[in-house]
Subunit: 346 residues, 2 copies
């Protein structure tokens, strides 16, 4: 297996900089659109053969060094008692949002982690088998704050007003929710490692919603709780706190092997603040695919240079692949990362 | 007139820390809701007596040290040829979004700044008259990137995909648009100063959409262009680039007297990076109003301490007042800022 990604996660020497892309399995790929033309999003997530096929698509098509499992962070908490729906154009929503202490009390943390999520582990077993001689599989979950915010709002939101209000007006209830979600998430991630995931990633897409002090008091402790719990799996752990720009020093001590950096920060400054004990992942601007080939090359060279002083660097975007990114441009960037970094390592 | 706000903007000695709040004239006030129950948002903006009344409401109700003119950043570019509509629940939109070089060429930069915007200056004359013995009036506009992004998308967006694509795939067209919007915005702000505005603010709500390098290459030059042009008014100039966390050093040299800081950064760290030549405005977390009175007091004390080393500190939120903020809590915070900072200054 090409283990360049796993080596960079651990800070070991590599022959070139490994690269994968957030949302690499997604709408910009015609092969993905073809599958989603026939069935809805949640059905795709819940059908092991389909989820596995989508997960594997970008490995051959764009030539990345890791596959990220195709799923949605909202599905994970269904076994806790959340009633998930999906409407085209509106995205996922819960019909029973969590608003009160009683709502939190009713949430379950199933001891049997396969309860209601067997389709994930089945799909990952297929992926692991198919990928055996190719690249590692990254399993993932939403970080507890990001997942709890969805559970509280009942759907996506721009202001997450109900979440922030609950966090400050009823902090004990909010913390109880975070704790339950964290315990369930840890079980979920450990089961993914058992099913064949070679690395585990926590996506904290709403980390930037809280100010630095609140992030450190109300969010980060629960991230640490999960990471401490899943360390026993032995696989590299990645944490990506989108927008938590002021908290990198605290994040560097969360226990993860790799810290994701969004494109709002310069990677060399992030590396300096994170220190020598973690690897970094990121952080080229995702609309780079709409630039000329020469500009793509220039930005790749710049990003590789910014990541040079990190313990290890996993090349990635600073956010997901845009929906209309031209596939040939995406592939060109991946190739450029390999070529440029190989020359530099030689 | 209470000129504490203007003094803090200029870095002069004050007896207490002045405070006003972004969106202080807005939906959390029952007096505002009463007016908006009878007429739509754009009509309120465009009727001088109404816009003036809404602007003045928070001065007496919550006791702030400055009034901010009630308007919407989308109205400004109507005289450039943008066709603005407003739908309840959907917000403002343009039926003729700017997508091509020809679209940009068609945009006008009226020499007579009152053309199509006379209602603004009329309302500000009323405000200035009513406020003469109270507090200063802040005039404002959207910064060119934020306004251009709306013009390109035609409406609000979460990803601003079309804007980012144009900025990178057709940079000359994007820069032409920015230049035209910047020239029009400078005219608009100068006319506001002539009508009675005692300070001028540029809101760059989407500054964080571009990465640090693109922000400095494609956004900041046009902010500087406006500020250089409106310096002749002699009034303090404020710039707020929401989310532009990595660019404070560059922003400190944009020419503004005051730099707004969102709640994603710690104010003392922002002050250190901005240096001694500018004042700061911000940056308490806006959902602070849902905390207990004791916690509000603690956070006010903390924020005042973080702002202590700034050349001058205008106390404000790090984002707008939330829709459901209890008015008594808002007033309590304003009072606390005055009391605590007066004791410290004594």
């Amino acid at each position: 297996m090409n283990d360049t990604f796993l080596k960079a996660c651990r800070g070991e020497k590599v022959q070139y900089t490994p690269v994968w892309l957030m949302r690499q399995a997604g709408r910009y790929l015609p092969e993905y659109q073809k599958i989603l033309a026939k069935l809805d999003f949640l059905t795709a997530c819940r059908t092991p053969e389909i989820a596995a096929e989508i997960t594997l698509q970008p490995v051959d098509i764009i030539g990345v060094d890791a596959a990220i499992f195709y799923s949605d962070i909202t599905t994970t908490v269904v076994p806790m008692g959340m009633d998930l729906h999906y409407e085209v154009g509106k995205g996922p929503s819960y019909s029973n949002p969590v608003r009160t202490a009683a709502d939190v009390d009713r949430l379950m943390v199933p001891e049997d982690s396969s309860e209601g999520l067997g389709f994930v582990y089945e799909a990952q077993k297929i992926c692991a088998r198919e990928l055996a001689n190719k690249v590692p599989l990254i399993g993932f979950a939403g970080a507890p704050f990001t997942v709890s915010a969805y559970m509280i709002e009942g759907a996506g939101s721009t202001s997450f007003a109900i979440t922030r209000r609950m966090a400050f007006a009823d902090t004990p209830t909010f913390k109880n929710l975070m704790n339950k979600v964290a315990r369930h998430t840890a079980n979920y991630l450990k089961a993914q490692a058992a099913a064949g995931a070679n690395a585990l990633m926590l996506f904290d897409s709403h980390a930037g919603l809280l100010g630095p002090r609140d992030y450190r008091e109300l969010n980060l402790p629960f991230v640490k709780q999960i990471i401490a719990d899943i360390k026993s799996t032995g696989v590299p752990i990645l944490y990506f706190g989108l927008g938590a720009h002021a908290s990198l020093e605290a994040i560097s001590k969360c226990g993860a092997d790799v810290i994701g950096i969004d494109y709002g920060l310069r990677l060399d400054e992030a590396v300096e603040r994170l220190g020598a004990n973690v690897s970094v992942q990121g952080n080229i601007e995702p609309y780079v695919f709409f630039r000329s080939r020469q500009e793509i090359q220039d930005r790749v060279v710049e990003t590789l240079a910014f990541g040079k002083n990190a313990r290890g660097h996993v090349f990635n975007l600073g956010h997901g692949v845009p929906q209309h990114a031209p596939v040939d441009q995406v592939k060109a960037m991946v190739d450029t990362v390999h070529e440029v970094s190989q020359l530099e390592a030689a």
